[in-house]
Symmetry: D2
Subunit: 289 residues, 4 copies
């Protein structure tokens, strides 16, 4: 297929590489053009403007946040796009913006699919993302081969794009709650002289298997917060978006508020670029340890 790809951060770069490997033609655009060079070497066509990328059979976008989305996908870009184009937005954005984008695309006859992903840069590079897609079924059908190139599993949630974003934000809230809980538990057990690693071994071999408790649990046990696989300030961004989405449906989420406070504590202490596991440090600081 002839596709465009907008946003070549760590995630986007890995995704494009896998699309190229699957044999598709890709026009890529990134604000900082130097990020595009390795992909050009791999066969991508680097274009100079978002508008040049926003064409073909389908366009994928993977930008950093709401602000970047609003700047690139402005009224002019949408007005000038071909009717029938499919735009698949894979970034983690607010539910509010997801709703606005769905309306704005519909008004111009552009198909809009939300397809946020679970998995970090290493998973993207490996083509093993979990993709949560929502939007018109026929549009998703058409881009499924691309999803298959980028991910190991696509969940199809329904026809309202923003619902995929809700799931993504709720999943990241769950992740944040688990890491905060690990941090609190670490401070509790070490306060009683128990090695955190012993605790992590017990729970991950039984009730809490899987990458979250193992990965973050071990990082907290070892007080290893760099290099960051998922930065605390990005975790804060997502918890804020989850709280905003909860606010919109008048839903108290007290654990989410606790985690937001802990993440702000981390960022205020200069640890925003450290790994999410730095919540263990925040918890220890509350107990002066």
């Amino acid at each position: 297929m002839d596709i465009g790809f907008i946003g070549l951060g760590e995630m986007g770069a890995g995704m494009v590489a896998n699309i190229l490997k699957a044999g598709h033609q890709v026009r890529v655009w990134n604000r900082s053009p130097e990020r595009a060079q390795p992909l050009a070497d791999a066969g991508a066509q680097v274009v100079a403007t978002p508008a040049e990328a926003f064409a073909g059979d389908a366009v994928f976008s993977m930008l950093a946040d709401d602000a970047a989305m609003r700047e690139v996908f402005n009224a002019t870009l949408l007005e000038n796009a071909a009717r029938g184009l499919i735009h698949v937005n894979m970034a983690t954005i607010s539910v509010t913006l997801a709703e606005e984008l769905a309306s704005a695309h519909a008004a111009r006859g552009i198909e809009y699919v939300a397809a946020p992903v679970l998995g970090r840069a290493d998973v993207a590079a490996a083509g093993k993302l979990t993709i949560v897609a929502a939007g018109p079924a026929e549009s998703i059908d058409r881009v499924q081969p691309l999803f298959d190139a980028m991910g190991q599993k696509t969940w199809r949630i329904g026809s309202l794009p923003q619902q995929a974003n809700v799931i993504k934000l709720a999943a990241n809230f769950m992740l944040a709650a688990a890491v905060e809980s690990l941090g609190e538990a670490a401070t509790l057990v070490t306060g009683h002289g128990v090695a955190m690693q012993d605790f992590i071994d017990v729970i991950t071999s039984g009730i809490f298997p899987g990458p979250v408790y193992q990965g973050y649990g071990n990082a907290i046990a070892e007080q290893r917060y760099e290099p960051a696989l998922f930065k605390a300030r990005l975790g804060l961004k997502d918890v804020r978006l989850a709280l905003e989405a909860a606010d919109a449906v008048m839903t108290p989420m007290p654990v989410a508020s606790v985690v937001r406070d802990s993440l702000m504590d981390a960022v205020a202490h200069g640890d925003g670029d450290k790994d999410f596991a730095v919540l263990g440090e925040v918890s220890a600081r509350r107990a002066a340890r």
Copy 2:
């Protein structure tokens, strides 16, 4: 071996059954003697007083809470016990009581091992418990064959019995935090029209595998709170004990406080005997849904 077993609730009964199957002689005592009958049929010797059970090579106890422990394992019982007896307490008790029991046993020359378990009644019946043991290494060595009869894995934590209790309480806190988070996430996603089951399917197939997210997640998705596998009021008991243990080492645990409030809300609404998953109901109530 010739052992005693004190406390034949749902957990204890399953554990004794497996010990009998493994070919050991067991004297059993329970406050309500009728609970002992099925075990008598399976070969256990029912005795009339805790003192008769508190003899032999080793004695295991599995009572409901601190109060029951204090009542049975009083000074008189300990004074009259044979020196060198090993007492293995498998109940979930407070760290404070664990420390007191360790001292009281040591003062009378009785070995004391704390060996709380992870797993509910069905797991106990299947002999698949996870056992977290702390205490004198030789004592644990001697009772290891019994642990092997009751569980699939024994974690040996160290020589201070109370540290095993700390791990148990921290693990149950983690469980409580996960269920509370599931409840909050459920209210968020359903508020935006997403089916909770879809959300659970996405997270349990990827970042959150394992029995906790699947079991409680599905229960919340189906609003199925009975029969209770783990009652909300017992969850509240354990979160309180975790907070007490945290207080003793001056450790704030804000998520634990949130969960305690939610569990009190559940119990106040008459749902204390429902499953822990009823936290999903508490979360929904906060949002008037």
Copy 3:
């Protein structure tokens, strides 16, 4: 003086009435023109557009929220205003918007003063407001006679307008925290059979004198939530703004998060138009009473 006044809600209407009484000429504008009639009878000149009001020596605004402010005080209005005009914004708005307005006015040579008020509609009608003013000192000097007509006391905070808004939001957060605490205390004492009124009498006659503890305390004791002097949904708006302002300076405010959750609970239960004291009801609901 020749002044304009934009926004004739309950607060604005009382303020204009006092300005008229003090002998000033006032051009008034309100989105719903019928609100202007009683003031016309009292001598105000009703104008048809914000632009007609946005002229003279000084213009005061008292609109409902950020959205209303943004709509009325758009680029066109500011472009067409006379240089040297003083705009005194008395509404409770976000710190972010206050900063934007300060810049936008400065760019057009319009003086901008933020002067949010403490006190509800009855206090405004009585001309007894407490005014918290920040902005250029000479501008505040010039409008001081108007402040004297509307309020009993003007606090001058500094030259950065948004700092007055910060104080207003922090004050409303304090209010919210006090009402939430009263609600929690009410549920505690009544749970032990103590009459809430007895408790309120004890604390308000000693450590907690003043209108907040007396007014809201009595309302909670009497479970009297209507008519609303300060609506729960407006309280929620202000706590949200306080949290936003805290977020901008990476400041965790856990009590503010608790109050936000309680206010969302109230609004979700259909009590948004009841008095702020309805937090007592939320607290009681958590305990199933």
Copy 4:
């Protein structure tokens, strides 16, 4: 009257001094006898055992906590006391202990009145305490002259002694919540460059008059935490007791949990003997300021 007084800490010493001034005979006992000397100089009779003090028309007690109460007012002391003696306990103790004491006294025919006080040592010395009394009406009538010597106002709550303790704990919770709120507000306003003193001036001159907001607000504005008028660790003790009392009636108090965590943070950081206002420091620390 012929009275006994047990417990001569800062509070008790001031209270006894005022009772002596009012012309009563007082037998005093304190664990550390040197504390009794100044009162002996003022006319008190120092006795060597609690039993000697626990006699006469009425006995007042003002001990530090539940543990001290349980140790002194044990079964032996009560057994040997004269029937009809009135025991007035003015200490801040748990609701649970208050209930136990009421029963234990009743069983021996001793009258029991709970009369906790509002006010710190300086207020006690000045004879200006606020007294909250509950118990048999005739007993309170008989000791009213003593209350008049110690305090400026006696509130009579009812016949169940523990209800006076509930009010005291709820009042101290309100105090704790106010100080925590001041701390959070301080971090918010100073984060935006506003002087905390300006904020305190605004709120204390209007919506929040009275000693709490002025005293603790000024202390936080000046970051003046010593000498302590009310120590953080004693504040923590009372908030814990409030949470225990809430737990007994299954009442979530989320603000109380937040304050408990902040106070533990303060104590963990070695500030337990600083003034309660040190919560301002805890709040600042969360924001890395």
